[in-house]
């Protein structure tokens, strides 16, 4: 919870992690990938304010107490959504699995949402694991990392027949929210791995599921925005946008926010800190204070009110995950009408 200038913000961190990427968890023979992955993440941390940077050793493996303090104690977060990333070819126990997240989270009732994951290349065995995870952890969402390496394959698309079996299973199991995270590899490697047209197809074919494209499809913001205007069940996860640009590149951040507000509107954007890449505190406080820089350059972009920020920081995600919001943190019903309808008509 956060309060500023008389506005009360209920904060849902829609994208965060509890990982172990220390050398004790590296798979022998794959050390260079495990090391390369966490060092890549660590460079992202460098885009935040210097006073929030950690040592690499701390970043590789942080404790339960660190997380609880950074996210809930100082970070203003009310409910956090664990988004697992397995990477079992590189990390012995996985980078951060559903089990690891839930084992920790169960000691803090009411604080966490346990998303799980699947990989179409795991076939029937993976389907059974998905069913078991939903049963055991009550998962209502899945995080899909399409660039995961799996038995010689470097990635997959949502449009593969195998993936559709899983999406059908998600609908049967009561999973509502599919978080998609694109990465640098896919099969075949000569295609653009970041292409989001498969999300477009899947969103059309599964209108009962919500598709949250993480880090707004970066580095394909343009393709993502254009696709999202045409799919009512597609949302943008702001992880990396706020963390990677708001401090380091304020003018570019303003342009990206302006485009997102224009193409998707404030009802379709979800805050995610991407903890432990960045701590939520400076992101939440900075975003509440944010406005376009003084310049005519931004005059065409939609404004973002305190009500809009309340949606983005928590109320939109609370709706997707049926999280109970205390009455004083809710918006009047009228403010919840979908934004950006006029804008969306532009592409009809």
């Amino acid at each position: 919870m956060y309060e500023k200038d008389g506005q009360k913000y209920f904060v849902v961190d829609g994208h965060m992690h509890y990982w172990n990427a220390a050398p004790d968890n590296w798979v022998p023979g794959a050390e260079q990938y495990a090391k390369g992955w966490i060092e890549c993440f660590y460079a992202y941390m460098g885009l935040g304010p210097p006073e929030t940077h950690w040592t690499l050793e701390h970043f590789q493996k942080y404790s339960e107490d660190d997380l609880m303090t950074d996210v809930f104690g100082n970070g203003h977060v009310d409910v956090a959504v664990f988004q697992p990333t397995y990477l079992l070819e590189w990390y012995k126990e996985g980078f951060n699995t559903t089990e690891r997240n839930a084992t920790m989270g169960e000691r803090h009732p009411g604080k966490f949402v346990y998303n799980t994951r699947w990989d179409p290349r795991d076939g029937d065995v993976g389907l059974e694991t998905l069913r078991r995870n939903v049963e055991r952890y009550g998962s209502r969402g899945c995080k899909l990392y399409t660039a995961e390496w799996n038995n010689g394959s470097r990635g997959w698309k949502l449009t593969e027949p195998g993936a559709y079996r899983y999406l059908e299973a998600c609908q049967e199991l009561g999973i509502k929210n599919i978080h998609v995270h694109k990465g640098p590899t896919i099969w075949p490697l000569d295609k653009d791995a970041f292409d989001v047209s498969d999300v477009d197809r899947a969103a059309t074919d599964f209108p009962g599921l919500n598709f949250i494209v993480e880090h707004v499809g970066l580095p394909r913001i343009e393709d993502f925005c254009f696709m999202a205007t045409q799919e009512p069940n597609v949302y943008a996860g702001l992880a990396v946008v706020i963390g990677g640009l708001m401090h380091a590149r304020p003018r570019f951040f303003a342009r990206v926010m302006g485009e997102l507000l224009f193409w998707l509107g404030e009802d379709k954007l979800l805050f995610g800190s991407d903890y432990a890449i960045w701590e939520p505190q400076w992101q939440v406080e900075g975003f509440v204070d944010w406005d376009y820089p003084e310049s005519d350059e931004y005059s065409d972009y939609p404004r973002l009110s305190a009500a809009g920020k309340r949606k983005i920081l928590g109320l939109n995600a609370a709706r997707l995950y049926d999280i109970e919001v205390p009455p004083e943190y809710r918006l009047p019903a009228k403010a919840g009408t979908p934004a950006a309808q006029d804008d969306a008509q532009l592409v009809d």
């Binding site: 260079q32 990938y33 390369g36 992955w37 060092e39 890549c40 660590y42 460079a43 992202y44 460098g46 885009l47 470097r154 990465g183 640098p184 590899t185 099969w187 075949p188 490697l189 000569d190 295609k191 653009d192 791995a193 970041f194 970066l218 580095p219 394909r220 913001i221 343009e222 925005c225 254009f226 990677g244 640009l245 401090h247 380091a248 590149r249 304020p250 003018r251 570019f252 342009r255 990206v256 302006g258 485009e259 224009f262 193409w263 005519d296 350059e297 532009l346 592409v347």
Partner: protein, 243 residues
């Protein structure tokens, strides 16, 4: 690093296909040298260990071609460092085997379609950058739709747009419309101009944001500037200073 100047001039012509900027301006050239016997050596670096291997391959292959084409260069060695696919890329470029054979079993074809698709994005983004300046001086959608390239005040952004359009085989002369479909080269009519311009602006914003993230990541990965990095950056529209 003797004899590096002609090498750097050649490397200035090599672009990151996604970011549409010279690899020198991006700081991706770590070092280069040309021996008195004509043996060239170039070392390239990228913002992360996991940067997409297809784009990385294009940059290494283009750097090899640019350097080999220089008069007086007898041999060229281009090495990508600190990357998960460095061995496959460096070996494939050195042996001139092409992308598909460098990644046998993992790639279905060469990278020409990928390159063309990103050149089209560069045309759209370049249009957005040219129009951003025109809009600041009061031009609205209808006005922008009526302009030809010859109507646009000269500058680096316009030069760049003409060059990209030429590479794609799109009209780039003074009489060509400012707004063209990057696939067909047909002029964009007044009815379609608003949407076209919004997409152009969006594409420019996207590529600029990507470029800034890549630069900032590279800076945290390596604490040295690359040769020509500062000089070439002056040419980049939309750039902002680091905080």
């Amino acid at each position: 690093m003797s004899g590096a100047t002609p090498l750097l001039a050649a490397l200035d012509t090599v672009r990151d296909p996604e970011l549409d900027e010279p690899i020198t301006a991006l700081g991706f050239v770590a070092a280069c040298a040309l021996s008195s016997d004509g043996d060239a050596e170039v070392r390239l670096r990228l913002p992360t260990y996991f940067c997409a291997p297809n784009f990385a391959y294009l940059m290494v292959a283009d750097a090899y071609d640019a350097v080999t084409a220089l008069p007086g260069v007898r041999s060229a060695r281009v090495v990508l460092e600190d990357h998960f696919a460095a061995d496959a890329i460096n070996g494939g470029v050195a042996a001139q085997t092409g992308f598909a054979r460098s990644f046998a079993g993992e790639a279905a074809g060469e990278l020409d379609d990928l390159r063309r698709d990103f050149l089209r994005k560069a045309v759209l983004a370049g249009t957005g950058q040219v129009c951003r300046a025109l809009r600041a001086s009061g031009a609205d959608d209808a006005t922008l739709a009526s302009l030809t390239l010859g109507d646009v005040p000269p500058g680096p952004a316009l030069d760049r747009l003409r060059q990209r359009r030429t590479e794609l085989g799109l009209p780039a002369g003074d009489e060509a419309p400012l707004l063209v479909d990057p696939v067909t080269g047909q002029g964009v009519g007044p009815d379609a101009a608003a949407l076209h311009l919004r997409r152009a602006r969006l594409t420019a914003v996207s590529i600029e944001a990507n470029g800034s993230i890549c630069r900032d990541m590279l800076r945290h990965r390596y604490d040295t500037s690359g040769p020509h990095e500062q000089a070439q950056r002056q040419q980049v529209p939309g750039e902002e200073e680091l905080r």
